[in-house]
Symmetry: C2
């Protein structure tokens, strides 16, 4: 079942979900295996069609699932998910097969999409891999085209983030290192 | 003259300057011409040697300077620089030749580096372009290796950000769209 407040975002506004540079969870699925890892190195690449980049280390199971399925999702964990975000970025399903259960990751699926999504996030982007073998091999750099996007409509609505009005628990995270994040802060309007 | 508090950051810690996803100013110089533009789409790509990605539109003068010189700097504007950041991302030196002066951009140089740096920022990374013609042409995506880094030691010291203890005016910016930023917010430690 989809989470409450799970609301489609028009593709031409999807870049705004990542533009502020949040840390993401990367999810993928292949052959009945789901996995999730965290990535601080994800970025918008284009407006229309919306594209993204994400760095996926060769040691990760999630990367194998992305390469096999040609699909992945990026989603924005919220402040209460900071420990989960560190945990799924530290433990690998290769050595801890039930890491999702151990770290309390709850998955759901959106209608007509096979990629698993993580409950509790502020926004979700399903991406189709644009294969670029040189980038993937030389830099661990993956490019995707966003084919569907959703957000929790309490914090992203009508094409805009509303962090200052939404519940504090819906602020997104920006990772530094060593378990240290900064939450998305106060609005600054020019 | 260098700004006060301008302090070298060891290269193995340089990724931490961009890891939280801030909006950057991109500067470059060639043939006696300096320019600066803003970019929300910049991201860490690797730890050691530190690498970065940044998206530079074909319409920009700064991109021409980067391609001609093989060098660029990324630097992190602070909250008081939000209007400057929007302005240098909106106006092009191609149509407004004195845009730096008009928007109050003050440049300085670090010893032994030819790339101009912008005064008032929280951190600075000088990068050597790693030419990847396909990425540059197809995606406007540029890859650089960080060859030197500095930070304002009031806000980044001993390899760590100290946003909560530093003056509020040293918080960095995360752009969304339409003149709307979020400041880097409260620390969240796992």
């Amino acid at each position: 079942m989809q989470p409450s407040h799970f609301t489609p975002v028009p593709l031409e506004k999807a870049y705004r979900l990542l533009n502020h540079g949040p840390t993401v969870l990367v999810s993928a699925s292949h052959g009945g295996v789901d996995n999730v890892m965290s990535a601080a190195w994800a970025c918008t690449l284009d407006f229309t069609p919306p594209k993204v980049t994400v760095v996926l280390d060769k040691a990760t199971r999630t990367r194998e699932l992305v390469e096999a399925s040609g699909l992945f999702a990026l989603q924005l964990p919220t402040v209460p998910m900071a420990a989960l975000t560190v945990a799924v970025g530290t433990d690998s399903a290769k050595t801890l097969p039930d890491k999702l259960a151990q770290h309390g990751v709850e998955l759901f699926r959106a209608p007509q999409h096979s990629v698993p999504l993580v409950r509790g996030c502020a926004a979700w982007l399903v991406c189709r891999l644009i294969p670029e073998p040189h980038n993937q091999q030389a830099y661990d750099l993956f490019i995707g085209e966003v084919v569907a996007a959703w957000a929790d409509e309490r914090v992203f609505k009508d094409g805009h983030w509303h962090f200052d009005e939404a519940p504090e628990a819906l602020r997104t995270l920006h990772y530094v290192a060593g378990g240290q994040f900064y939450a998305t802060g106060a609005s600054v309007k020019v």
